[in-house]
Amino acid sequence: MVLELYLDLLSQPCRAIYIFAKKNGIPFQMHTVDLRKGEHLSDAFAQVNPVKKVPAMKDNDFTLSESVAILLYLTHKYKVPDHWYPQDLQARARVDEYLAWQHTTLRRSCLRALWHKVMFPVFLGEQVPSETLAATLAELDVNLRVLEDKFLQDKAFLVGPHISLADLVAITEVMHPIGGGCPVFEGHPKLAAWYHRVETVVGKELFREANEVILKVKDSAPVNLIIKQKVMPRVLAMIQ
């Protein structure tokens, strides 16, 4: 039975897995779990991932959640080119370092930026105080600075001369505030250059395809009120 991936390309980690699988020619069956329709809260999906989050993977009887774990699983199982997760001890450690760091920092502030700027007003119909948005964008800027000064520095990609899992996870994270209309590259010229390099290596067509949903996020239809009730507590927990 072919590998199954449960994704919503609205989600940053889902985009990373989508791009990685497609780029490496890994055959998979895509199951779209529409977050804005609350499909992740269904009993059917709970069978795949009791934590009720995307992305989730099913490889015959083996289910797996957490995008970093899924990316590493695919890397080991499908024997992808070395640069994605180098054998070299120190280069590999650098990828691990980024993948660990991003959870509570860049991922979180990109998520908050999108929700405070777009999803709360447009999708949930809730106003966000301007001070809250300003604080969120300031925090995003701090994390973008760390991405640039600590991780990227003067290298072509985050870990060295070649693209790795770290770049894939980072680029899909910054697409969140980009989709939300935030000026991510203002004051971060090195990141702008890195973005174009990653887009080129991934391939413009695949990159566009993976980002189609997030780039249209400002056109989200307002949420159904019953769904709003169900998702609200989880949203608040997610962006705290």
Binding site: S65, A69, R94, E97, T104
Partner: protein
């Protein structure tokens, strides 16, 4: 110059690295970065880790942060017994899955208990509203339940019959509230697993690593440097 580990055992990620290195006979210089004296903000340490966090590893010219990355690096470089990070695809994926999930699901909520119960009242002199404490406790309870149902299940350890990095990281993080005399090991299953992990590590090493933490409630906070006090108050503000 040999391997250097920059740590303060008040921090759970530091304890994981300390225990792993000691258990596997990995020789290292313990560079004490006293968090209570604000040493993580010192000029010397900021040169090692500009993010001002512990643990950090220095191996010759190579500097690495993020405990998960450090644990994987040590595992590989020193060829630790394979049960710590199993080569089996599915077992390894479970470890990766836990290591990704724990950042937000275990580490942060466990720290919040310590901050709310001890550090905020002692350092800022203000009590935290009971509601916030309840919220923090509920989150811990929910996530521990998820830990039992999804990761532990009816096994001895997370990957099955042997301790792995996942059990080590899980336990040191769940010990964090002990720094405020709070014990989260309320279910029989969790308490039994805790004991198994302690015994697999070795009780002497386990309690040696936790000595500074369990003595925290009786630490004389009046000796806290005023600058450190201000810094910590700033940091703790958002959890009040």
């Amino acid at each position: 110059m040999g391997l250097e580990l920059y740590m303060d055992l008040l921090s759970a990620p530091c304890r994981a690295v300390y225990i792993f290195a000691k258990k596997n006979g990995i020789p290292f210089d313990f560079q004490f970065v006293d968090l209570l004296k604000g040493h993580h903000h010192s000029k010397e340490y900021v040169e090692i880790n500009p993010l001002r966090k512990v643990p950090s590893l220095r191996d010759g010219k190579f500097i690495l942060c993020e405990s998960v990355a450090i644990l994987y690096y040590l595992c590989r470089k020193y060829s630790a017994p394979s049960h710590w990070y199993p080569p089996d695809l599915h077992m390894r994926a479970r470890v990766d899955e836990f290591m990704a999930w724990q950042h937000t699901a275990i580490q942060l909520p466990m720290n919040k208990i310590l901050w709310i119960k001890l550090l905020i009242p002692t350092i800022t002199g203000e009590e935290v509203p009971a509601e916030k404490m309840e919220q923090a406790m509920d989150e811990v309870k929910r996530n521990l339940q998820q830990f039992e149902e999804k990761f532990l299940q009816d096994k001895m350890f997370i990957t099955g019959d042997h301790i792995s990095l996942a059990d080590l990281v899980a336990l040191v993080e769940m010990m964090q509230p002990m720094g405020s005399d709070h014990n989260v090991f309320n279910s029989a299953k969790l308490a039994e697993w805790r004991m198994r992990v302690e015994l697999a590590i070795g009780s002497a090493l386990f309690w040696e690593a936790h000595d500074r933490l369990v003595k925290l409630p009786s630490w004389d906070f009046s000796t806290l440097d005023p600058t450190i006090k201000i810094r910590m108050s700033e940091f703790l503000k958002k959890y009040k």
